[in-house]
């Protein structure tokens, strides 16, 4: 393993991602800024070998390193604006774990370490990779082009070469700079994603509750496996979750900076799995609703809604209509994959039923452990006893609904998207939304408040209304 290469990528990705967040003028706590910068950097780098291929240039160490250098310098420019006012970030919000957090940290830490080790140790093994992105990336390094001799092989039993070049590009970079199996980028996304989730939960919930929630989240066999088994869905989940999170921040204060970054994250989710565009289209009514409610001008409102769908669509167009249509030497027409009998909606309704029956409540093996079951209990308590949801909770619940209906719709529209593969992994998308819903769940917030008050003693009871949220930096509202 080339640690210098890994360090080089970590630093350049961090700078690139941080530059992008500065361009969007996103203001969040330093730890979240660090993690979101890192995953954004990975996302931006995933376009580099792809663009080199589109320009018909050879993919070599020199060309990729040059592309990384140019990108890093370009995204560093917005950072110069803040250098004169630069202060070392205060990491006051990073505190040592309390005694009762330690058992969870140990277990979660061990699971993360195991995932990172397996991600490093195992070669890519998923069939979808070996007959598509992985073999293309491997031969791209030998033949200097993504469009290479792999297309002369018998590909009749696969269509995995038709996937967007997100993984191909990252594999090329990480094979060149880190290790022969690449793949380490997945651990970078995973670790930063987990830190983001934990940090967000800690803003509003008691650490004991967070420990158990995170444990349930980790212990989903189907999901944990994909933290070291390279495929598209785990990455797709991370970026779609990020999009929904920043969208909820946008709804809270109508700050355009959050909206810009949300659009970027949704576009990346589309880049990873192009059918995500359908789910994003279904988010438009929620944006319209909140913008109308907050009396945002009609022109601004429509422009933002337009941007919300146009930017991911550009990425979709780049993959489907430029890369696949004009570069891949195999004829592919997406319309051939569309359900010929759209009038029969029973398939859609059956898929809705099957998701619940065969995936969530599968008798022999619940694919997602008891994480969804826990959600049903908590949401039932929230609806029966509280019936009070803030904007973040509504956004997350809307996201969960949209993913559920959207996946069934995708299955109905594209019969190739089968239940036990595409839909099963597509369901990952709603899992972090559930987790973030928990931090706004009235019942869990109340429970956190009770534990915190008890823990801190009676004299502090009056000061603490609920689990004390940690201070977020002041945000200027800019409509």
């Amino acid at each position: 393993m080339n640690f210098i290469g890994l360090l080089f990528l970590l630093v350049t990705q961090l700078i690139t991602g941080r530059g992008l967040m500065q361009l969007c003028k996103v203001q969040i706590r330093p730890l979240l800024m660090f993690c979101f910068s890192m995953i954004s950097g990975v996302a931006i780098f995933s376009f580099l070998p792809f663009f080199i291929e589109l320009l018909h240039l050879p993919i070599t160490m020199t060309s990729v390193a040059t592309a990384i250098g140019i990108t890093t310098v370009a995204f560093m420019l917005p950072l110069f604006a803040i250098i004169k006012n630069f202060k070392l970030p205060s990491f006051n919000d990073i505190k040592l774990p309390t005694l009762y957090e330690l058992p969870f940290w140990v277990i979660l830490g061990l699971l993360m370490a195991l995932s990172i080790w397996r991600c490093y140790y195992y070669p890519p093994n998923a069939r979808d990779m070996l007959s598509g992105p992985e073999v293309l990336a491997d031969f791209a390094l030998k033949e200097k082009h993504i469009i290479n001799s792999v297309f002369t092989v018998d590909l009749q039993s696969t269509n995995n070469y038709l996937k967007p070049p997100y993984i191909i590009s990252l594999q090329i970079i990480y094979k060149l700079f880190v290790q022969p199996f690449g793949q380490t980028w997945l651990s970078i996304l995973f670790v930063n994603f987990i830190i983001i989730l934990y940090t967000l939960l800690k803003e509003k919930l008691h650490p004991l509750i967070i420990g158990f929630l995170m444990l349930y989240f980790f212990a989903m066999p189907e999901v944990f496996g994909y933290t070291y088994l390279m495929l598209f869905d785990y990455s797709n989940m991370i970026f779609l979750f990020g999009g929904f999170y920043f969208l909820s921040r946008y709804f809270e204060e109508m700050e355009v900076s959050n909206f810009r970054f949300a659009v970027f994250l949704f576009a990346i989710a589309t880049y990873i799995r192009t059918e995500t565009l359908i789910i994003e289209g279904m988010v438009l009514p929620l944006i319209f609703f909140y913008q109308y409610k907050d009396k945002l001008g009609a022109a601004k409102s429509w422009i933002r809604m337009g941007l919300f769908i146009i930017v991911p669509f550009i990425v979709y167009f780049l993959c489907m209509n430029i890369y696949i249509k004009h570069f891949i030497p195999v004829k592919y027409d997406v319309s051939n994959d569309i359900n010929k009998n759209l009038g029969d909606v029973s398939f859609f309704l059956n898929r809705l039923y099957d998701i619940v029956d065969k995936l969530i409540f599968a008798d022999h093996l619940p694919y997602y452990g008891y994480f969804p079951h826990l959600f049903f209990i908590i949401i039932a308590v929230d609806i029966i006893f509280f019936r009070k949801f803030n904007k973040e909770a509504i956004t997350m619940l809307y996201g969960i609904l949209v993913v559920y209906i959207g996946l069934a719709f995708i299955g109905y529209l594209l019969p190739l998207a089968d239940l036990l593969h595409t839909t099963k992994r597509g369901m990952f998308k709603l899992l972090p939304l559930i987790l973030i819903y928990y931090r706004s769940s009235p019942s869990l917030v109340k429970l956190s408040g009770i534990i915190t008050n008890w823990e801190n003693g009676r004299q502090e009871e009056k000061k603490t209304t609920s689990a004390k949220p940690q201070a977020a930096p002041a945000r200027a509202t800019k409509k």
Binding site: T98, L99, Y100, E101, L102, P103, F104, I107, L111, L114, W117, Y121, Y122, P123, N125, R127, L130, S131, G132, E134, V135, D138, F139, V150, T152, V153, D154, L155, Q156, S157, T158, N160, Y161, P180, F181, L208, G211, F212, L215, A219, P221, F224, G225, P366, G369, Y370, I451, W454, E455
Partner: protein, 177 residues
């Protein structure tokens, strides 16, 4: 002295005992969690994975060892094919290997081996393989054949008749994963 022990000794007990209670709840909660059948099974099968330990993996870290470990029989077969092709005296243009359909393997009692896709063979050794339904099957000059229960062999196809005989044998089986 560990940090928490230090705190424990020097912090008045009344300020700390609630944290200890929460700590006990956390530990018991974790034990209970991993005692449930579902999660105990997950930990056993997928995390602790008694077949291979991390220590064992750490003793085999070369690229080849990791590939052998992960891809198993298929990788061994690929290496054998590559070695055979590199050393054989039978040269008949670019090697194109005819793959038997997986249903045929099953029907002949081969249970320990599952045929991968041509792209996967190409990934491992850069050799072109074809399913029986591909047009290039008519140009195949090598084949993987079944020689007995759980036995397969890699052989050259020397004549058109040999190739046709294989294709006829496979014609009732659909090549699929």
């Amino acid at each position: 002295m560990p940090f928490y022990l230090f705190l424990f000794v020097f912090t008045p007990f009344y300020m700390f005992y609630k944290k200890i209670i929460l700590f006990i709840i956390a530990v018991f909660g974790l034990l209970l969690f991993f005692k449930t059948d579902y999660y105990a099974n997950w930990i056993d099968r997928f995390i602790l994975n008694p077949n291979t330990t991390v220590e064992e993996q750490m003793s085999k870290t070369s690229v080849e060892e990791r590939k052998e470990y992960r891809f198993g029989n298929l990788y061994t077969l690929c290496q054998y094919m590559k070695k055979t092709l590199d050393t054989t005296s039978f040269k008949n243009g670019e090697p194109i290997v005819l793959l038997p359909p997986n249903d045929y393997l099953k029907a002949k009692g081969v249970e320990t081996f599952h045929m991968a896709e041509p792209a996967e063979f190409y990934y491992h050794i850069g050799v072109k393989t074809v399913w029986t339904t591909h047009p290039d099957a008519q140009k195949a000059n090598w084949a993987i054949i079944v020689t007995g229960k759980n036995n397969i062999a890699f052989i050259p196809i020397r004549t058109t008749a040999e190739r046709q005989q294989l294709l006829d044998m496979y014609k009732n089986y659909k090549p699929a994963l």
